[in-house]
Amino acid sequence: MIPDVSQDNGLATYNFAYLDEQTKRMIRRAILKAIAIPGYQVPFASREMPMPYGWGTGGVQVTAAILGPDDVLKVIDQGADDTTNAVSIRAFFQKVANVAVTTRTVDATIIQTRHRIPEEKLSAGQVLVYQVPIPEPLRFLEPRETETRKMHALEEYGLMHVKLYEDIARNGHIATTYAYPVKVHRRYVMDPSPTPKFDNPKMHMSPALQLFGAGREKRIYAVPPFTDVVSLDFEDHPFAIQHFDKPCALCGADHVYLDEVILDDKGGRMFVCSDTDYCEDRRAHGHAGEMLAKEAAE
């Protein structure tokens, strides 16, 4: 449905979703090429946004370019719907696009995320938009853009394997725990943005389209649905995700990514789901973790 765009108050307003139409076309063309070349970073003319770099200007521009009046938007920051970054971006799109928002993963058509993939399995109708600080996985190994570009062109990823090997030589295991490099469609090595490596397996053969926007670095890249995403590893040191000793203290969920919360200055701590929506949903369905059960008993 097309909303009524007549201006009855006589005041000019922003274009729908803040960006002007030419900017949207430029971003849209970049997104299409990004999808056609999975894992390849497409340069784009990133705009100044009304928020500082590092607050997700890349993700916001991608979302603004794809967002329509029928979409339902969810924004998460480290898994949580209620942190500053998530709240302000959600409010931004409510203001400039008057779009419906939700915190429930299953109801959202577009999920903009900072550093997590929801625990709930995504479906085919959903688009996951990542905010990316540094899109180049080789940047800390080779600072020159001219060189890293050539390395991607020649599929020369030896340096990345050396880095993982040095991890093993120093620590006995691959000590990279977030922004763990992946190979997409057996061709490009890609930075999954600083998500914990716990989330890497969720990117593999995901039914949802995944788009990545880096505003300061001016890059857009994508992983189409049902695409091979393999975490780099060695035969004798296979890739493994983090494991937690205890389930979530609030909802009792196993096999989810947990955040540590310090409770007092005497060493008290709890581990809770980083995905707040998933945790709340489980509690609403009667699941109770250790802390919650204790509270109920008192």
Partner: protein, 202 residues
């Protein structure tokens, strides 16, 4: 209607929302190659440009994207229509074109003259919008590749004879290559360069 009048009418009634609607279809089409999409937005590009091809042009082309038109389209009212509605410059050099539009029955001897990008910048490549007779009654072709769970079958009718050979060559260039949109009237489907096409055996 004379050529000038034809050029001025038949664009998007609601440019912002119509373009967003069409783009989401193209984005989903590229992300899920072979999915049949139908343009419901009421636009009326001059013949021989179909509604789907016209909608794609209105959505994606502007002053930054040189457009190449096949001879049949270049002779029609389409150049004026594109110029008026999108402002896209038109070029006769295939290598300069970001978007290329071909009419039904276009004899295609090679993709080679279209920009395929460089090994460093494979995104600097052309998107070819090819009009064919229809997308439903041709002999079945099997598609596999990113965006497709397992495999999917499409039935385009009236592909240029050389298409499958050219497409196989195009795939060997990866990550370079062109991307193709097959359009027929209001319908279209996308073939990004990663998609593998094989003739379906019964």
């Amino acid at each position: 209607m004379n050529l000038e009048a034809e050029a001025l009418t038949g664009g998007f009634a609601q440019p912002v929302f119509n373009a967003q609607d069409i783009f989401r279809m193209v984005m989903d089409g590229m992300a899920r190659p072979g999915t049949l999409k139908q343009v419901a937005v009421d636009i009326d590009p001059p013949a021989p440009l179909g509604r789907a091809a016209g909608a794609l042009a209105l959505t994606l082309c502007d002053q930054d994207t040189p457009v190449w038109l096949s001879a049949g389209i270049a002779r029609s009212a389409v150049p004026g229509w594109l110029a008026f509605h999108t402002g896209a410059p038109q070029t006769r050099e295939k290598a300069e074109a970001r978007f290329a539009f071909g009419e039904v029955g276009l004899a295609l001897s090679s993709f080679g003259l279209f920009a395929t990008g460089s090994q460093e910048y494979p995104d600097r490549s052309a998107t070819l919008v090819l009009e064919i007779s229809n997308l439903e009654t041709g002999s079945p072709l099997t598609l596999t590749g990113p965006g497709i769970a397992g495999s999917t079958v499409v039935r385009p009718q009236g592909l240029p004879e050389s298409f499958l050979r050219l497409w196989a060559e195009n795939r060997t260039l990866f990550p370079r290559g062109i991307d193709v949109v097959l359009a027929a009237g209001s319908d279209f489907l996308c073939l990004p360069r990663t998609t593998k096409i094989t003739v379906k055996e019964n």
